[in-house]
């Protein structure tokens, strides 16, 4: 059962796309992060890296909406912190969108996106591998202690109190975190939870529950604005692709959340980390191998 994707300009098997969604959602439900797999899997499917990244961030809008509502209702969102991050996120997303436009005009956008993923997945893969082996998955978040980053953040000006999180830190901290994630959202199409959750737990010392709610909150709005900017500036968002992926991720997240207690998370983490490392190596290899043709058509045809 094939479907033609209007912006990606290719026809793909509908079940394959839903399958990718289910897999990514499943990993996410099981291990807490997995959204970063969306873009590389779409690239491997034949979607161009720029459309894959922009449609991936579009899917993240839908994937974070119901969770955001649930956490808002439960009082787990530090709205003040979230808004600061959001301002940073929109600025970073705007900058990222411009970077995408420039790199695309130069013809090197695809290489940059893939290279970002090679590095990124190598780091994530190694971290997960070590975590899985040392089996400290549970009870990891207690007493973070004073890290150098925390001390540096503590020296920044514009200190303010975040009531819901119960922390006092510089307003620049959430702005910088949000800005960094915004750039990543535009270039790579990731929501940034894998980075924000540990960063806010360890660097800002926020309670885990509030971190998850606040990250979802900022992710919803940052991904929304990045989708909007990408669509307006770069015309590379495939909304149909994103909507199909969402059906899969929601279903997969349910499966993952239900099976999480029955499966051994450590072993899964090791297996999963090996898969991520393999994907990283494959993408690196694609960059190093001489292209089949020395001429490549510059985009904008579809």
């Amino acid at each position: 059962m094939n479907i033609f994707l209007p912006v990606a300009g290719i026809d793909v098997n509908l079940l394959l796309i839903i399958g990718i969604g289910v897999f990514v959602g499943f990993v996410q439900g099981l291990l807490g992060s997995g959204g970063f797999l969306l873009t590389p899997l779409l690239i491997m499917l034949g979607v161009s890296p720029t459309v894959a990244a922009a449609s991936g961030i579009n899917a993240i809008v839908g994937a974070s909406v119901s969770g955001t509502f649930a956490h808002l209702k439960a009082g787990n969102v530090d709205v003040k912190m979230g808004l600061f991050m959001l301002v940073g996120g929109i600025a970073g997303g705007g900058a990222g969108t411009i970077i995408v436009k420039i790199l695309r005009a130069m013809g090197n956008l695809d290489v940059v996106i893939i290279l970002c993923y090679v590095i990124f997945m190598a780091v994530i893969g190694v971290i997960m591998f070590v975590e899985g082996l040392s089996s400290r998955v549970k009870g990891e978040s207690e007493s973070p202690g004073e890290s150098p980053v925390m001390r540096w953040l503590g020296k920044l000006p514009f200190r303010t109190h975040f009531k819901v999180s119960g922390v006092e830190t510089s307003a620049l901290a959430p702005l910088l975190l949000g800005g960094f994630v915004g750039v990543l959202a535009a270039i790579m199409g990731v929501g940034g939870g894998f980075f924000l959750i540990p960063a806010m737990t360890y660097f800002l010392g926020m309670p885990m529950q509030v971190v998850v709610g606040t990250v979802l909150f900022q992710m919803l709005f940052t991904s929304g604005s990045v989708t909007f900017m990408q669509a307006a500036v770069n015309h590379n968002v495939d909304a149909i692709l994103a909507a199909i992926l969402l059906v899969g991720t929601t279903l997969g997240a349910q499966l993952g959340a239900r099976l999480v207690r029955r499966l051994k998370a450590d072993q899964l983490k090791v297996a999963f980390s090996l898969m991520v490392l393999a994907m990283s190596v494959k993408m690196l290899n694609d960059l190093l191998v001489a292209p089949a043709f020395f001429l490549v058509e510059l985009g904008g045809r579809r």
Binding site: F4, V7, F228, A231, H235, A239, A257
Partner: protein, 259 residues
Amino acid sequence: MMPRPGTILLSVLCGLACLGPCTQRAATSRLPIELHTSAGLIRVTPRYCGELVKVWGTVSPSCDVVVKLASPREPALFSRKGKVGPFWLSVDRVRFENVPWMYKVKSSEPIDEILSLEEQIRYQLGVRGLKASIGVQKGVDRDLYLNELIMTRKADRLFSFGHTGVRRKGRSFATSFFWPSDGPSGRYLIEAFAVTGGRVAGYKTRVLEVKKVGLEAWVSRLAQGHGIFYGAFAVSLAIAAGLIASLVFKRPQGHIAKS
């Protein structure tokens, strides 16, 4: 192509003089040829995944037939890949003029055996005819870049030069072209040429229109032309899809979503 008065006179004379095989009527370039296609319009819908377009017609049995399918010509911009450190990056740009997005040609006999080079170039038939019609940016190796351009398009299955592929039986001929799913919308020309004595003796043209319809058309028009509205649409669609999907696959009670 306006026939010159001399040609018309000649063709009338020839037509009167010889009712024989078409070799003798070669010079007329008015040889009747019938051309039909299985589709005049291809609708690109969400279920679209390419289409086989059948082409058939009739012509004098002694003629060879060349069938060409081509999209309108336009400039094409390519980047040249070069090795920078360990990576292959775009290092340069090359501009081609007059490049069809799609170009496919099939014939009843290999083109070089039935058509002179001048005629191949005049009617832009075959690899040599196509190459001669494409402009390459000054200062680069024309042959090298043209070959590469043609190879990339061949790899994408947008160009093909079948040495044969047109079936003949008596007066009739038939062939088919596969229309790829990523062929952009627009008006394409399908032309059939009656060939004899190394020259084109007559031809007929049909238009094939490829049109995105329904949701496809709406989405791609919006995405390209109205980015701001499309952005709002994409965000709303994702929110709606996310909410609906979460309602359908409702989470167990008391479990807080951790997307």
